[in-house]
């Protein structure tokens, strides 16, 4: 009977494993439900493609409606998910290949809005310029799907897949205008450069994998720090290897091993990270990787340019944030002398200077907006550098961070990420409006995108000129439009907590914003104060572009006036951004929610006291939050002030100034 003891403890194991595995296929279904917005867009892209193939010709309207229906469904799913407590800590789906967290859901909402707007006005444009094709809606959905993969990516491979899915669809859309010479040329330029940068990205991913042995982002952030720990440990043995005289042979051997093992991974990791960085900077079109931007933006059909300027930027910045703010944030990798921030900081400065100075000289509105988008990338990169250096600052100072410093770093970093998100959304809205206007002017294979053709636009189309003016002012950074608060939040978070170099670059950025005003205002002046052309260049038939322009102008003002509420949503999306999906991240989000509850309760109490009534019983409604779940946040409310410590609650100030 004694021999039975052996197998007994093993018995439950297969059963448990079986239970796990049978739930594995069920798990895949649950994961798909978590990814509902993405799945809907992916499936819808196929449905729309088949509908185009099987529908009778002349059913384009139906196809547009079908696409908008799918996007609407995805938006509904994303709205239901965003801000929900379930996603506070982030959920890993498909075994960590993708994450579903508040950040990804907010980006989803942004890109779905962009896609909806593009679908709204692209149909009219394509029809008017005689190159209507049924695949357009499907391609927009595929590109949107790619951006959503980027937002959700939890793995380097997912990131690459997302970038490729997005880019390939966009290459086709850029070259789709077959009755123009510029369009295929732009597509070819964009494709060759883009394919090259994808190659760099893949090479970088391979090197990073070689150095760390993992591709999952949360393991990577851990492994990257291991690489540097080993590297630092190897430094002690370098002296022994360089001057082995006087050391025992065994020690010299060991020292050689330590140095080889410590230095080789770092020697792979640093070039790998730089290659990945270069590829992503290409996708966001930062100097010196911006050369393709004006040509591709000018040659592409205007609705596609709108998607590139708004959607692709959102996706590429989501990837940049995920990798370089969320993952590669070990002190030695971020800070000088080996860190990437010291490079990107000056690239950011160069990007805005080149973008703005080149934009001043443009005579074509599309090229002007292309260079202006380059300049905006520069401003956004300042935020990226700020966020990364806050998160990764401590170890570079040579001592272990205290709890207070940890709290400070996470707060400052989270606020910087939230500022970037706010800026991105404000920029995307204004850019969409501007390109909707560009696409509306001109007809019959001829776009009216030369700057002189816009003179006196306000006399002919006052409504359009007004909408365009609002969008341009938002891009310029005029209060109370969204663009102003975007700049304010990004520059402020960088200036308040940043290093000296960062502050210098912020000053450069502010000067650049003023330079930017030159070309935006010049366009506005020519629209309002120049006589109109004798010949009316006509406009695209259909209401899509005016509707999008009006919505974009209204939204630009709205997110400016409601900067407080908007920033709060961005802050929710960025809370605990650095931390991989976990309980710890959920705790940070809970802290944040508790702070808001407290502040709102205080505001209520004050208001009630002023009115001479009893103190308010209930806290105000939180955005995107179900009332019945409020009870859950009461618990960590007490813990919140202690965690906040003596550190300045940066985001609280930013929020208070917002409104």
């Amino acid at each position: 009977m004694t021999f039975a003891l052996g197998p007994v403890p093993l018995l439950p194991e297969p059963a448990a494993a079986a239970g796990q595995a049978t739930t594995a296929s069920a798990q895949a279904l649950v994961d798909m439900v978590h990814l509902a917005p993405m799945m809907i867009v992916g499936i819808w892209s196929l449905i729309v493609l088949v509908a185009d193939a099987f529908a009778r010709p002349g059913l384009r309207r139906f196809q547009q409606t079908l696409t908008l229906l799918g996007l609407g469904l995805a938006v509904l799913a994303a709205v239901g998910q965003f801000g929900h407590y379930e996603y506070d800590g982030g959920i890993e789906v498909f075994s960590g290949f993708l994450y579903v967290d508040q950040f990804a859901l907010l980006v989803d909402l942004g890109i779905l809005g962009v896609a909806g707007a593009v679908v709204l006005f692209a149909g009219d444009y394509n029809r008017s310029h005689r190159f209507e094709y049924g695949e357009h809606e499907s391609l927009v959905l595929i590109a949107t799907f790619g951006v959503m993969i980027l937002a959700h990516a939890g793995d380097l491979v997912a990131l690459f897949l997302g970038i490729e899915t997005m880019s390939i669809a966009v290459y086709v859309m850029v070259g789709a205008r077959w009755n123009s010479r510029q369009s295929p040329e732009a597509a070819l330029k964009y494709f060759v450069m883009g394919a090259f940068s994808s190659g760099l990205l893949l090479m970088g991913i391979a090197l990073v994998y070689g150095a760390t042995g993992v591709t999952g982002l949360d393991q990577l952030s851990h492994e990257v720090s291991t690489v540097f720990t080993k590297w630092r440990a190897a430094q002690d043995y370098v002296a022994v290897v360089e001057a082995p005289e006087g050391f025992p042979a065994g020690m010299v051997d060991m020292a050689q091993d330590k140095v080889a093992l410590g230095i080789a991974p770092a020697a792979l990791l640093i070039p790998g990270v730089l290659l990945v960085l270069g590829a992503l900077l290409f996708k966001v079109s930062a100097v010196p990787f911006h050369m393709w931007t004006p040509d591709a933006y000018e040659g592409a059909p205007s609705p596609t340019t709108a998607f590139m300027a708004a959607g692709v930027k959102i996706g590429a910045f989501a990837a940049l944030l995920k990798l370089f703010v969320g993952t590669f944030i070990v002190g030695s990798l971020v800070q000088a002398p080996y860190g990437w921030t010291s490079v990107v900081l000056w690239l950011a400065a160069a990007t805005m200077i080149v973008g703005n100075l080149a934009a001043v000289r443009q005579t074509n509105v599309k090229r002007l907006l292309a260079y202006s988008s380059v300049a905006h990338v520069g401003y956004l990169l300042v935020g990226v550098v700020a966020a990364a250096s806050f998160y990764g600052d401590r170890p570079a100072k040579g001592y272990l961070p205290t709890a207070d410093e940890h709290a400070w770093a996470s707060n400052a970093g989270d606020t910087a990420v939230a500022s970037i998100l706010y800026y991105l959304l404000a920029y995307a809205v204004a850019t969409l409006g501007a390109f909707a206007c560009v696409s509306w002017l001109g007809r019959d294979k001829k776009e009216a995108s030369a700057a002189h053709e816009w003179s006196g636009l306000a006399q002919r189309h006052p409504g359009i000129a007004l909408g365009m003016t609002v969008c341009l002012l938002s891009l310029m950074g005029m209060p109370p439009m969204g663009g102003f608060f975007g700049k304010l939040f990004v520059f402020r978070s960088a200036f308040e907590h940043g290093s000296e170099a960062l502050r210098i670059v912020v000053v450069i950025a502010v000067v650049n914003s003023v330079i930017g005003a030159v070309y935006y205002l010049r366009l506005i002046v020519s629209m309002y104060f120049r006589p109109p052309l004798e010949r009316d260049l006509g406009h695209v038939e259909g209401r899509g572009a005016p509707v999008v322009l009006a919505a974009a102008a209204a939204l630009s003002v709205l997110i400016g006036i409601g900067a407080d509420a908007m920033m709060q949503r961005c802050r929710l999306a960025s809370a605990g951004f650095r931390i991989p999906p976990s309980e710890a991240r959920a705790e940070r989000v809970d802290e944040l929610r508790a702070q808001w509850e407290q502040r709102e309760a205080e505001a209520d109490r004050k208001a009630a006291q002023e009115e001479g009534q009893q103190p308010g019983q209930k806290a105000g409604q939180q955005p995107g939050q179900q009332p019945d779940e409020k009870a859950q946040v009461e618990v960590p409310a007490a813990a919140a002030p202690s965690a906040e410590g003596g550190t300045p609650p940066a985001e609280a100030e930013a929020l208070d100034d917002g409104g």
């Binding site: 079986a18 296929s25 493609l49 185009d52 080889a260 020697a267």
Partner: protein, 134 residues
Amino acid sequence: MAESYLPALMFVVFALGFAAVMLGLTMILGPKRATAIKDEPFECGSEPIGSPRVKFSVKFYQVAILFLVFDIEVAFLYPWASLFRELSCSVPLDAAGVCTGEASLFGLVEMLIFLAILVVGLAYIWRKKALDWA
């Protein structure tokens, strides 16, 4: 660790060096007597007719691209088929390769989804007459 890449480096150096030496030696040592016949493009001995820059119909590329898609499909199907026993078992196979747990539809459904997407593509190119040669 870095030393383990030494053979690869040696191979690269040797390959480049071999090619360079061979080409260099031919350039230096080989006699150069150009005649009209020797300067002709090599066409297996027959005399070249017409320009080498012939326009091909774009349909060839179209067929090649369509072929590529289904070729890659097979490339995916092959490893999937060889792993199918493991994919359709809810527990890892034992040493003899026998499934001790329940049967699972996971692997089958995964591949069906992949195939369904390709079938959508096939239906699309069929309806768009990309398969018609005329």
